[in-house]
Structure formats: C-alpha cells, structure tokens
Symmetry: D3
Subunit: 329 residues, 6 copies
C-alpha cells in the first residue's frame, strides 16, 4: 500500500529497512492484468447488506488484502513454498448500494465471466472472499453453469445449516444451501456440512436437512471422531458420487474465542488449526475446484485475530493446492 517512486539514490522508496530475502504474500499476490495465466485468482464479493444480523463482511476482501503483508508464502508446517504458483488478485465483483437481487445477479454473471475468461488456463481455481453467506448461492450457480453437466458436491464448514425458507426473508446469509437445493443446482445427497453446533439452529431446519438427504457432522462428532476421519468419510463418498467439489467455509464454524469477527460464531466451535489442516487437505483433492470464505466481519474483530485467521485459511488451502499441482503427496 505504501507506494512506488524510487529516487536513483534509493533513499525514497517503499520498504522500511527490510531484509532482502524477506518476501511477503503482499509482494507475491499481485493484481491480475486480465491476461496473465494463473493457477488461482482471488475474487472479492463485498456484499453483506443481505446478512440477517448487521455485518461488515463487505469489508472482508480489503481487510484480507491488507493482511497479506503479515504473511510469507512459505508453509513451514507442510514444507511447501507457494511462491512459484501464480496467484493473482482479480478484484471485486461490483455491488449495488441498495438492490440486493442485482448484487446476486452480478455475482452470478461476474463469476460466469471470470470462468469464461480463465477457461483457457488449465488449472485455474478461484478463491472467493465474501461477503456474507448469501453469496454462495449465486457463486455455486455460476460454478455449476460453467461446469454444466457435472455433478457438484458441496463441503460446507459451518455452525449453521443455512437452509432457512426463502419466502420469509428472501435470499440472505441464512438461506444459501436452501437456494441451491430448491434451484436444483446441487442435490441434498451431495452436500456435507461440518461443524453444526448446538443452540445455533432450530429443529425444523434439522428436519429439512435430513429430508433433503444432506449429511451433517456436529461439533460433538468432530470432537469425538476427529475432523480428519470425518473428512476421509466425506471425501470417500463424494469422490465416488460427484464430478467436482465446491468448498464453502463460513468462518463462524470457529470458536468464538478464536474468531470474534463474525456475526455467527459460538463458544465451543472448531479450533483454528483443525480448520487449517482440513482446507490444506481439501486443497490437495483433485475434484475440489473452488473455495469460498464468508462471514468475516472485520468491524467485530479483536486486533487482527479474525482477519489473520481467515487469511491463514486461504493460504493453507493454497498450500494443499500447490502440492496437488506438483502432483504430490
């Protein structure tokens, strides 16, 4: 963010005494010029006026961008260096100030355009940063349209079922899964929800979820069986039943102490490193072709805790993806 002009003497420039070998994500993920081939592109979807409770998730894409300078591209935990991968910042989908249906249309069409433009890049994969969870409905629709004829699986990390009826409040952050089921974009049997938690959902929607054939895992199950084993089961099933997988991460799946910056999280939620390991693993999965990250509200954050956690989720996923690209592990 600092800037650009460098005097011949080098006395005026943008770095403040930095180390020549130091290398930040902010230096690595540069804006996309609309032409360069890329393996992954970050797309911001700054919509949160569709949130049931007040949310500044519209500020999440810029908050995450500004956090890049706190991270390096080397994943010491898995010994993966992201640097050689071309990850670019595609920018934000344009939103309207007061017309929420038009915002959702823009997501559908904007993502569609992006898929078209990047269709020539053999291994392109989008990282979509919300916004609230309402964006997942048009985002998955655009994904499904682009991959027409393919069966789409959905892996959802979430405290909530997100299957509220659409009649009462329209498409909000409480309805994305319902919207996708009702429009036939995904089938209930291809939806796997992980992290569903107590006192955050109503029985009526648990019933709906069951009727639709959705498989869900509560936090209690995550504690008892381990997220790793649950993921194995999910992937085992999905890899046999669908062609492509879309991963949607509602950050409220995390424990409130680790993620204060969201309208939704509750005490007793998932621990950060469990989620990091999970998305790292999903990054390695061949059929996983898109990830979105929603409901990060930077205005509710404490320090930069939630924003950095969200950024770490994206990087962990990219780390797994890098392993996949390298044909490895």
């Amino acid at each position: 963010m600092s800037f650009q002009y460098i005097e011949p003497s080098g006395l005026i420039d943008r770095r403040g005494g930095a180390d020549r070998m130091d290398w930040k994500v902010s230096q690595w993920i540069s804006p996309w010029d609309g032409k360069e081939e890329m393996e992954a592109g970050i797309v911001g979807v700054p919509l949160s006026r569709s949130s049931i409770s007040p949310s500044a998730a519209s500020e999440a894409p810029d908050a995450i961008r500004s956090s890049w300078r706190s991270f390096t591209p080397y994943d010491a935990d898995h010994d993966v260096d992201l640097s050689p991968m071309r990850v670019r910042d595609v920018g934000n989908i344009r939103m309207h100030t007061t017309d929420i249906p038009r915002c959702h249309q823009n997501i559908l069409r904007g993502m569609g355009e992006l898929y078209e433009r990047t269709a020539v890049y053999p291994r392109f994969l989008p990282l979509i940063v919300g916004g609230d969870h309402s964006i997942t409905s048009p985002s998955v629709q655009a994904f499904a349209r682009h991959h027409a004829g393919k069966a789409i699986g959905l892996i959802q990390f979430d405290t909530h079922f997100d299957v509220r009826n659409l009649e009462d409040g329209g498409p909000s952050n409480g309805t994305p899964i319902r919207g996708l089921l009702e429009s036939g974009v995904v089938q209930g049997g291809h939806v796997f929800q992980i992290g569903i938690h107590s006192f955050a959902n109503v029985l009526a929607y648990r019933d709906y979820v069951k009727e639709q054939g959705i498989t869900f895992y509560t936090m209690h199950q995550v504690r008892k069986e381990g997220l790793s084993r649950i993921l194995s089961d999910v992937l085992h099933t999905l890899n046999r039943s669908v062609d492509l997988i879309y991963v949607t991460v509602d950050l409220d799946v995390l424990d409130l102490a680790s993620l204060p910056g969201s309208p939704g999280p509750s005490p007793g939620g998932m621990v950060s490193w469990e989620l990091f390991e999970a998305v790292y693993r999903l990054g390695k999965e061949e059929k996983v072709r898109a990830l979105d990250l929603v409901c990060l509200d930077p205005f509710r954050d404490v320090g930069m805790l939630s924003v950095k956690t969200a950024a770490h989720v994206l990087l962990s996923f990219l780390s797994g993806y890098k392993v996949r690209l390298d044909g490895g592990k």
Copy 2:
C-alpha cells in the same frame, strides 16, 4: 426487549424480518407468572459487592438474559430440543445496596421461598445465576434446609479452593466452601473440586482442603486423565454417598482466553467445550438438583465472548436435564 404493540396491518411489531420457523431462547424462556408449573427456573442473584476484587458480576443475570436472543433451544450436538421443557425466568433475588449480610440473608430466605412455592412441581430444578461465589453459601444452605435430612454432595468447577478463613474478611467470593463446611451444611468428604489451577491458591488452603477430606482435581489432572474420566469417578463416589448433588460453576475455571469476563480466570484453564460436555452430563444425573453459575463479570468481557459462554453452559446443562426428563440415554 423490543416490544409489543402490533398494528392490524402488522407493519409495526417487534420482529425485524425474521423467519417464521426461527425460534430463539428469548422467545422460549418467558417470565414466570408465579403459578405455571415449570421444570426449571432461572433465578438471578445480582450480588457482587462481596467480591474480593472489584466485580460487576451483579450484572450477569441481565447480561445472560439479553444474550438469549442469540441462541436457539435446539442442541444439535446432542440432538436435543429444549422447547417442550418449561423453563421460566423467576427474576432476581432482591439485594440491599450496602448491607452484605442482609443480601446473604435474602438469598437464604428468597431461595427458601422459591423451593416452597415450587415444591408442588415434581421435577423443578433451579438455575441460579450469580453474582459472585459468595452466593453459593446461602444458596446451598437454602437447598439443604429444603431437603432437610438428605446428604448433600457438591461438585465445584473452579480455579480456586474457595476456603479462605471467615475471620479476616467475612463471607466473600473466597469463602463459600469454608462457610458450608463450618456450618455443617456439607461434609468435606462430599465436596469435589475440579479445575484447581497453579498460582491461584496458597498452600495453607490446600492443607485445609485435605484436612477436610475434600477431593480436588487440578487442571493438570484434567489434561492428563480427561474430564470425562474424572467426572465418572466423582459421580461413582457421590452417587453412593449422598442423596442430592448441587453443582456450582465458577466460570473462572475456564481459560482466560475463552473467558476474559471474570475477575479470576488464569491462562491454562479449562476449554469451553470441556465444560459444556461436563454440565450436559451432570444435567442427566438423577441426583443433581440445582446448579449455580457465578463470577461472570460482563464489564470485563471482550465482545460477548464470556456472556455467551456462560449462557451456553446453562443451555448445555438444560440439554442434559431434558434427556433425564425424557428418561433417556
């Protein structure tokens, strides 16, 4: 809290675009009218001027009440719907502004009146929300008087022994267990303390606790043996030696990162979901007949982290209790 009047058109009312199937704890736990039969009643005890260090725990009952709208009555983790259970808000015990002994008398007598009034409800169980830990002494006394002739067991989640001598400072949040032992209301052999932690207690009181025959488990033991196994041991013993069990939860047993809103918590404490599981299990136990929750100081909270955690403790206990009422699991 919003309100009441509804125009015939429905345009003016208290809900803001809510979903018709959505159902919050704030809609479920209504005030008690003094007559309706209930399975559980929430009683506030807004006393914290008896706290050794400054505490706004007197504000905890109202803080928890205002958090009900953030929770639903369905416990997805254990697949228990609380809605059919009649849980009512009995109100607060009246406190005096400057006369602490009179406050403790009011608790003793107020709880006594409540036990009398509710004696006709076969399965009534009180959830007492402090206030600081000094309230546990008169509260258990009222419980013991009501159940005269029965041996009372005490399960205490706490970082501290709470057995300070009564001569130096009178009955404060550092003395409740001492008060109960000295008055003969409970015997040391029937007291089980879980979560005792390093650098939060003095040796002299460890000695006292041992002399009195109290059994205690440190956080180190909780880490090593697991809370589940410890609880099994405690219940195995208590179920054979006492008639009724009173559970007292000092929230400072939780890790400081998960519960900033208390004068007492320290780093390295219990994790939220461990406590949730523990009280859920205790809710199922036939002999458990009362629970109190103390030392939540909403003024020290970070966001709503501590208040929501406290509310989750109450709901988790109710969830176990619902299973008990259903004769189940």
Copy 3:
C-alpha cells in the same frame, strides 16, 4: 429488562436495592397499548442495510431502549420534569431481511397508520429512531401525506448534504433529501442544513444544494456565529414560510470524539451540548411536529458514549416539548 414476579415477601423482584424515590426513564416510558392517549411516541425503524458503508444502525432502537435505565426523567439543566408527560414506546416498524424497497414502503405505510391511529390525540408527536438516514425520506413522506396541504419545513443536523443522485445507488443514507426534493414532498427553500463539514461532501452536491435553494450552515459558521443565532435565523424564516417543521438529526453531525458510534462523523464536528440545547429549543417550537434521529451505530460505539448521547438528544427534545405543552417559557 429484568422482570416481574414478586414473592409476597418481596424477596424476589426486579429491583436491586433501589431507592424508593429513584425513578428511571425505563420506568417512565412504557410500551404503548395501542389505546392510551400519549403526547409522544417512540418508533424504532431498524433499517441499516441501505447504508452506503456498513452500519449496525438497525440496532439503535434497542440500544437506546436499553439505555433508558441510565437516565432519569428530570432535566435539571432546564428545571423540567418530564414525568407527567405520557411518552410511550410504540415499537418498531417491521422490516424485510433483503428487500430494501419494501422496507421503505413499510416505513411509509407504518408511519401512515400510526399518524391515523394517533390523530385523535391532539398533541401527539412522534420520535422516530433509525436506522440509517434513508428512513427520513419515507418518514417525511408519511408526515406530509398525513398533513396534506401543509407546507413542510425541514431542519437537518448533518455533516453531509445527503443529496446524492438516486440513479447510481438507489435510495440510501446518502440520498434522503434528494428523494424528498425530487418527489416534491418538500421544497429546497424549506430545507435548512446545519453542521455541514469539510472533506465530507463533494463540490457537485454543494452546487445541487444551492440550485435547489437549500440553506446550509457549515461547522465553521456554527463556530463563528454560534448555533443559537443560526437557529434563530432558521426559525425566523421557517416560521413565516411553512406550516409544520420536521427535524432530522443525523448524529454524524457530532464530533468524532463525542460520537464514535456512527459511520459518518468527522473530527471538528459539533459538541454534544450544542446539539442538546438546539433540540431543546426546537422542542419548544409550536410548528415542530416530528423528530427523527439516525445513523447511530451501536457496534462502533466506545463504551456507551454514543448511545447515551443519542438518548440525551431525545430527552432534551422532549424537555423542550414539555415546556411547549405547559405553554411556557
């Protein structure tokens, strides 16, 4: 908020050692039953998804309600006791989760119903609590419809002109005045804006405001000439040119240090007591018949500073109104 049930002994009740003569606004402003005559009614309009920048102003009505217990109804500064005046809480206008135009329609119709229902009360006056500033457009329209044939004057306390074009973003908190001018509900010559501040507006809209014949006073003028004298000029003009006056207070007119809880305020703004004195005076004015208060975002507040300041604005206005009712001063 605490509650209701009182044991015969009085030991369980809702007051915590209070003084019998103490008397809070929370005890004075009770919910309206739909029938009782009232001199003033508080209406919440919990809409802020129409805000350009993220805003939790939808939470303002409940935040102000919960602050009533921090205030008494006696205005010592002006020696006015509000207690005898019947001020009631009418509740909130019902909002839709995602359909902003329908929300604005609900305001128009809901306020219309309220004006009809209260038409029989000779001196009824509404205090409308937003929400963001977009609510002022339908609110003034309902006011104008109810007082059809009367010329309406508008006194606006605001850092901004609020005359953005409606084509680009639809009716948001940046457009209310434009909306009212374009729909012919008020004339530019009857609009007076006080507190317009540097680096918060663009030249293009200053030009529009001038073309429309709006009179505006910058903070620089407020400092130089004094708010009292400016108000005298405004009232002198308006009292001769209009029949009724609607006052709209955008809290961002206040200095950022006094009002952190709003998306809009800037350093160098109005000081709290200047605004209190101004609305007190407007309360006394015979032609002033409605007041709204907008853009209070409780999520951005520091402590309760902004919420209490907003509540004080409402009470100060009521204080002036009480003097008017008493035919006084």
Copy 4:
C-alpha cells in the same frame, strides 16, 4: 515501580536511558515515612463496594499512583514548579472485604489519626483519593471533628445531588451529602454543588436540596455564566460564612467523552480544562483545607484517559496550593 539495585558500573538500574534533567512526579511524590513534615499528603481510600452501580473505584488510588510517571511537577500553564513542595504518599486507609459500615468507620478513624499525626505540620493538607462518593461522608466528619467548632463549607463538583435517603440503601455513593446534613456536620447553606446535570437526578431530591438551603449550579448555568464567575460567587459567599472549606470532586461531573472511567458521567458534562482551572483556583484559597476525588473507575477507562485526567486534577489543585504557600498571585 521498576526497582532499586544498582551495580557499581551503573549498567543495571531502574532508568531506561532517561535524561538527567527529566524529573517525574513519580520521583517527586515519595512515600511518607510517618515523620517527615509535609505540606500535602495523598491518602487512598480503596472502597467502592458501597457504590450503587458496580464500580472498580477501589483501584483508583493505585491507578493514579502508577500514572505519576507520566507527569512532571512543573505546571507550565501557570508557571508553577511543584518540586519544592513536600507532597508525600501516606498510603491507603485499610478496608474490610465485606463489612461496609466498618470501612466507613475506618475512614473516620483513619483520617482522624492522620489529622492528629499531622497537626504539628502548620500547613498540612490532605488529598483523599476514593473510592466512591460514599467516602466523603466519613471523610468530612473526620475533618469536622478535627476542626471542632469551625463552620465547614463544602464545594462539590458533581453531576448528581447525592442526597438519596439513607433508609432504603444505607450509606452509598448516592448519599454522602444527605449523611452530612442529617448528622449536622455541615449545614445546607454551606454546601455548593456545581455541575448538576439533566436526566441524572430526580425531582424529589431537587426539592430536598432546595429545602436544605443548598445552592446548586447546573451545567447549563456553567455554560451560560462561566465556571469562573460561578466560583467567584461561591467563594464570595463561603469566605464570609464558613471557617474552612472542603472540596469534593466527583469525576462524573466531566463529560462522558473526556471521562469514560466512572459509573456516573453523562454526555454534555464539564470539559477537563474547566475543572483543572477551577481546582487550581481553589488550591489558592486560604480556607480550602482538604480535597477529595472520587468515582474514578479505572476498569471502565479507555486507554489511560480518565486516570490521567484525574491525576491532572490533583496536580492542578496542588499548583494553586503552591501559589498559596508562596503567598502569591
């Protein structure tokens, strides 16, 4: 606070690169050894469990002590160097954990002992740091006993009248003036209250204040007439009617934006520098012989804003007192 041991080489010591001419209040105000003559002594009274609403004012004395290192003893505004004056820290009055009446007794007796011990110092003056406002009642009583036979005047900076009845809640921070009137220690005609503010008092107590002959000035009067002129009037009257003046400063007289750290302040209160100038002037007054400062709650502070403001009040008073000692201005 750092410490003491200095190696011969000077490499280990308590200063971190400080300037040899720099000189902090923490180096100037040292603990009293019980013998040294002093012109002023700071006494902490760490009692706030007598506060109506929860308060950590008991932590104020230590908070102010720890802020001394942020201040120097030179008052550039009035060109007064406090350094030559012997101001010592006398320590805290011992409080009881749960027996509030005994705390008040300790204040009465402890201050009595201090007055006796310091009676030999011709110009000794105490600066009493609360604690909540309940401490003023025993403190003024001790003052009056020590100066038996002298008429005592009281100048009170406060948002509230503090004359609640003593029957309902006993001696709390809402009752100190009532307590002093009822016990005949001061007469109503000798009490002057400055800063009384709207929506913070009830009419019934305004009536009581008037009946007792107390003179009060509202914030509205402070704004209109200026604090300087009001003080002149007060001093003109008091200097003719009493022998000695006790000044009590309830920090809630200040605007909430300038003093968040108190249970009581409201928007529209006094500005910091008005209060600084006022106490500076009172420091110069021959008859002023004691000052207390109450209701600073460091737990509600934002940064160190309130604590530093409170410390500045004490230093400003000492600055005026230094001028008095120098026989000057």
Copy 5:
C-alpha cells in the same frame, strides 16, 4: 487499495456501487511518477524507534494513506475545492532497521534529493508525515540547506518544548528543537511554540527555552487569548524577521480525548477544530513552505479517531494553501 482489473461488462471492478459524482481523496492524491509537476507532495518518514516511550508512529504514513478513502477533497467549511491542485504521494524515506543515525542521515539526504528534484516546480511544498518528532531535526536541516542563506522561522504546535539535552539520550523525539538550535540551523528568536502544557515539561527546559529566546504560548494562554490572536502575533513577528517558515505539528498538542493515538497527549489540550483553523490559516501564509506532522501512533488509536484527525490537519493546511495558490482571501 482494492484494485484494477475491469471486465468488459464492468461487473468486476474496484468500486462497490459508488456514486458517479462521489470523489474521494484516495482517488485524488495519486502516487507521484517522479516527473509530473505538483503543488504539494506527501512524504512518509516511518521512523519511531527514536521515540523515548514506545511508539508505532512509523505506521502513521500508511495509516493516513488508508484513511484518504474516508475524505473528499472539498472543504465545505471554507468553500475550497482541492481537486484542481496537484497533490501527489511521493512515498516513504527509506529507514534502517537498527541504525538510528543512518535513519536521520537518510531523512537529511532524502529530503535534499526531493527538494532538488522539485526545485523546478515553482510552488512545490512538502507535507512530511512522521514518524516521531526526531525527524523534524534532519527535515528542517534539509529545508535550510535547500534554502541556504534564508532565515528560517519555526512554528511548532506541541505540548512539549522538545529541547532535551542531546548528551544523555542522543537525538530522540524529545530533542529536535535543541538539535536545530545547537547546529545553528534556526535561531531561538525565530522559534514559536504553541500549546505548551502543564505537567508535561520540566522547569530546567523552560529555562533553556527562555535563554534561547524562544517564544512559547501555553494552553492557558491559548484558552485566555484565543489561538487566532496568538497566531496573528506570531505571524506578525515572523513575517518581519524571517524569509521562510517551517511548520511542525506534534499531534500531542491535542487533548487526550480527541487524540488518544500518540504517546504524548495530555488532558486539557487543544481542541481539534482550533488546530484545523490554525493550519488552514498557515496554509495561506506566503512564507510557509513546509509542514510536518509527527507522533501519530495508530496502534494507540481508538477506532480511527486520531488517524482521521491527523488526516484532517493535512487537508486543512492544503485548503489554506489552495487559497494562497488562487491568490485569494
């Protein structure tokens, strides 16, 4: 900060539903390309490891840059539109991580280069954003070298004298004025300090300041005489005695309630709008040729209060400068 790529459809771009006439400072102040003529250039000096107390003032330049999107370039208070003026962001002076003398050398040389490069622009004026106050010493030296042979006047807004001796701690934020006097760059008689405040300075340095012939005005004088009249006096003298004026603004001159984000501010300081008016006026002065702004610590800020206040200072100065360029007022 958002970004760049725009799909032909316009669906992906950097604006989120903005108004076409809306125009932010972030869109107006663009990076300098090293060639374009400019009237003013913003230079960041991210050095604060030279601060006596810990400071993150090194983050101030980027914090102010990120706040530009909250401001428009139209100064409604003075009816000045800044848009036509070419103000560019020159970037940051390069700092060293641990070598403070080299940092100061870089400032001296870097500013020297900038003055050389911009010497061809007839009316170029730098706005230097620190960093802590130590940067003013090399910055004024570079200014003086560039304008060799000219008498330089210094107008300093500050709570402190900043004339600590250089022997004890080297050149820190407590020494800049001393450094300039001792090196003969400016004469004491040409230095004017405004806002010097009580309990923030020691007597020894007051004496030094007097010996050097510096003129200083305390906050008490600012309150009594008004900042406007003081500035008139200062300018009257300086305009006759020097050729050029350098303005240095230490933000700690502001009241702690208005500027929490600095290591230095104290209660009772200057009010924001007083400072805005003062720098606006100085912007208009023909001899004023540089301004620096120091000691803004974004890590201590509350919300964005201090950062926005600092940005407003810069914009207010530019507003006066625009009037000067227009030959006006």
Copy 6:
C-alpha cells in the same frame, strides 16, 4: 505498589481487607539488595526499538512485575510451593534512548557483571525478561563468556527461525540466532527450535537453518507428535552433546487467540498449557541454566491476557526448578 506507612492502629496500611494466609508473588519476589544469596534473579531488559515491526516489549518487565499481585507462589498443578526458594528482582539493564549497539553492549556487560556477582551463589539462575528477541544474542554471549569452555545448547520456542542476515538491518529481533552462529558462540547442531509455523518464515532461511545443522520442529509436528515427546528427543540429544542449556521463549510461539500481545504470533500456534508444561519440565533439567522470555508487547494486549500468560511461563519454569533444587521427581 500501594505502599508502606502503617499507623499504630493499623488503620492506614497497604492491604485492603486481605486474608492473613493469602500470599501473593508480589510479596514473595522482593527486590535484590545486591548481597542476599538467591536461587533465581529476574532481570529486565527493556529494549524493543530494535524490533522490526513496532513493539512496546520494552514495557514487558514492568508489566510482568505489576502482574505478580495476581498470582500466588503455590503451583497446585504440580503440588510445588515456590515460597521457600529465594527469587529476587535484580532490576533492569540500563538502556540508551537511541543507540541500539550500545544497548546490546550494555546487555553483554550488564549480564556479565551479574554472572560475576552471583558466581558465589552455587545454584543461581537468571530469568531474563525482554525486550524483543534481539536481546538473546548478547544475553547468550554473556552466558557463554561466563561459562567459557563449556558447550552451550539452545532450546528456542518460536514461530520464527530468527536467522535473518545481519547485513541488511543489523541486529534486530529477526537475527539473534544468526548472530550467535556467526560469532561462534553456539553451534547449529546445538540449536533446537520448537513451534516454527507456516506463513511466518521464508524458504531461504529454512535453507540456512538446515545448512547450519539446526534442528527445528514445526507446529504441525507438535500437533502430530506431541510436545512432550519432542522435548524428550531434544533433551536426549542435548544432554549428551552440550554442557549447559539456555532456553529462549519467544512468546509469539503461542496462538494469536491466547497471546494477542506480541508483534509476531499467528493463528494456529501453541496452546498456553503446552508451553507451561514444557518450561516446567525444562526447569527440572540439570543442565538448563538460564531462560529468557521475549517479545511480549503489553500495548497490544487484550485485558491482561498476554501479560498473565507470560508471567505464568516464568512461574511454571520456577516450579520445575524448585523440584530440581529439591532433588526431586
């Protein structure tokens, strides 16, 4: 901190109603008088201007000192009473305001003096409280000089490798290990780093670390293998290859949710109680002869979470050391 003078009556003193058996660390760890034999001494090193990113770690020693009153000396978790051990506060190493190399020299020489002075105490062990991590380089050098001829092992808890090159920025908190390797004070084969985490290091330095023969364990390994087993491996190796072990704890090894108060921590880090157990165990190790604790920035803390966690680390280490002194376990 409160103070000292006690009236014969005991009414004025430093304790506020405390319990006679209560006993705080603040009463136990008293200042060293320069003569008394001690088993452990706490040394503050208030240097953080050498930190790459802004840091107030210079305030950490005093922050930890002020937290002692929140802890008791009894470790209930391990049943160890620290009271009999003589632990003293040696004070701070003197720092220079702007000369960082001199600060490092002072550490080298100051620690050298301390080792000389305490050489007569057979079991003396220093606890060094930074400051940022740059202090470890001179501190280990002083340790090595004092123990000349002995092979020194280093156990480092850290998120980062801390082996940046020294050419680009000089000795900062990013270079201590590099400095020690390059100066030959320790050999790479004797350095063990635990807690290295993803996206916090660059590949180039991972390569350097490997070349130097350093052994490192990532957080991923800590999760998979357990810290206990890793420590066993490290100690098994070190106990056979070196004579003495120096432990350095960079608090940023902890999870950001548990330790907000540091410039470095990231999400997914170590949990507090893992670190407590680890240092407890190291305290018991015969060859461990010094510990430092760095990069605690109290200005970034949330409440006292980080400061209390840091204090708990020191106490846990002392607890293990007490067991060693007792020849036990």
